[in-house]
């Protein structure tokens, strides 16, 4: 039987990355924790940004984590879906804006 590359239970073991490189691992988690603290942006706003980015990065662990985090912060499913559309719009926009490069090249090569 083949094993999947991703196992949902692995998310719980994320903290273990410090075991093989303690200083760097700890610095990362300190930074990570600090980023998500209430600041100029609320923790709720940060959670929605993280959820959108989790989708554009297509990270299943992050999607699990920030869907739950959003729910914990009282975010509604309509707000979550809209946030994902923001990510999707940027992704597709980023693809399509390169169309200008294609057009420039066509115009140069083929008048």
């Amino acid at each position: 039987m083949s094993k999947p590359y991703y196992d949902a239970a692995d998310l719980r073991k994320f903290g273990k990355i410090t075991e093989w490189s303690e200083e760097l691992g700890n610095k990362f988690f300190d930074y990570y924790g600090k980023v998500f603290e209430e600041g100029a942006l609320t923790a709720r706003e940060k959670s929605l940004i993280a959820l959108a980015v989790a989708h554009t990065e297509q990270c299943p662990y992050c999607i699990d984590a920030y869907t739950k985090d959003s729910l914990q912060r009282g975010v509604t499913k309509e707000e979550m879906m809209e946030a994902i559309h923001v990510g999707a719009a940027i992704k597709s926009g980023a693809t399509l804006v390169h169309g200008v490069q294609m057009m420039n090249k066509v115009n140069k090569l083929d008048g």
Binding site: R12, R44, G74
Partner: protein
């Protein structure tokens, strides 16, 4: 949406021993997760001991007009356990003589007890500092005979504490039943109209938030801000404080966790969020919970699990505050629900 209690449905999980068995087996038996006893022992907090009594919480019956998805009481219209006037008289004797500063009436819907008003009138005479009634709000709109409850509460200076799972209709009705949101909003507006919840008002109106699913509550202060903004903008509603309460894995919430295959993940979340500072102030250390038939428990959750106080004083008829102080609190894995993150109690966060 549930319409009947687990008890009425004849579910295994209506039995407290079955729930306790689940909470002690599996991931806690095979050592994957530490038991609550082992966890609090790490910080030398075992045995957990009762301090001076501050809060008397009385459950006047399990009957309710609602059947909420996650009710830890498994309350509903089909529950017939109701406190009698005789037991209330015994409670009044205790209320008159107790050193506790808070009296907290809960249920079910406490207002559905036929002797509820008599009991409130009598208890109010004892002059206890903070007299709470946990009202589900919809009861105020359920029947004409309850329409005057806001005035009645005001007359006796009752502190109203009400459940409100979300500021949107969809999330509220999903958890508490169709139409609950609209009725709750109307009830809150009526409470505001008689002065409850207004800025600077002595008529206290607090809301209780508990998550609608298998996740922990967010930061209480942030949630309060969000609730206040939304309820004011959308409905012109004012209230004082929001209490964020964690769902404990018992009764209907345990049933939901198991059926939705969230049980293990949820227990992991609770254990990972374990906070020894919350253990210091966990509500069982300053509360006695009294059941509809007069028995004494460390908390409402232990009452539902039928885990009586570890004391010679076991019933309201032989209530002895001195004897109860210093008793060892009865614990099991459900206790992780009160020690996760900022902690959880009937008054919200504790750490």
């Amino acid at each position: 949406m549930a319409t009947k209690s687990l008890k009425k449905l004849g579910s295994d999980l209506a039995q407290s021993n079955k729930q306790l068995e689940i909470l002690s087996n599996g991931i806690f038996q095979n050592g994957e997760l530490p038991t609550f006893k082992a966890k609090i022992s790490e910080t030398s907090q075992f045995p957990l001991k009762a301090k001076k009594l501050e809060i008397l919480q009385i459950n006047v019956g399990y009957m309710c007009n609602q059947v909420c998805d996650h009710c830890h009481v498994d309350a509903g219209p089909d529950r017939k356990e109701i406190m009698t006037r005789d037991t209330m008289r015994q409670c009044l004797e205790v209320i008159k003589n107790t050193g506790a500063h808070t009296l907290d009436l809960t249920g079910g819907a406490p207002e559905m007890n036929p002797d509820f008003r008599w009991f409130v009138e009598e208890a109010a005479k004892a002059g206890i500092k903070d007299f709470i009634v946990r009202s589900n709000l919809t009861i105020i709109r359920a029947n004409k005979k309850y329409y005057d409850l806001p005035e009645f509460f005001k007359k006796h200076n009752v502190h109203v504490v009400s459940s409100m799972p979300h500021w949107t209709r969809g999330k509220t009705d999903k958890q508490r039943g169709d139409g609950v949101f609209d009725k709750s909003i109307k009830a809150l507006q009526e409470l505001n109209a008689v002065g409850y919840g207004m800025p600077g008002s002595d008529l206290r109106l607090d809301l209780v938030y508990n998550p609608s699913g298998a996740f922990l509550p967010g930061d209480q202060a942030s949630m309060e801000k969000d609730f206040k903004k939304a309820l004011m903008e959308d409905f012109g509603i004012e209230f004082h404080n929001l209490f964020a309460i964690t769902n404990l894995p018992i009764a209907r919430f345990l049933d939901f966790l198991i059926a939705s295959e969230n049980y293990e993940d949820y227990m992991y979340s609770l254990v990972e969020a374990y906070n020894p500072a919350a253990v210091e102030n966990v509500m069982c250390t300053n509360t006695i919970s009294i059941s509809w038939d007069g028995y004494l428990f460390d908390c409402d959750f232990n009452q539902m699990l039928e885990l009586p106080v570890n004391s010679k004083s076991k019933h309201i008829s032989d209530f002895n505050e001195e004897l109860l102080e210093g008793r060892n609190i009865v614990i099991s894995q459900h206790c992780y629900g009160c020690t996760a993150g900022a902690g959880s109690s009937c008054q919200g966060v504790v750490a």
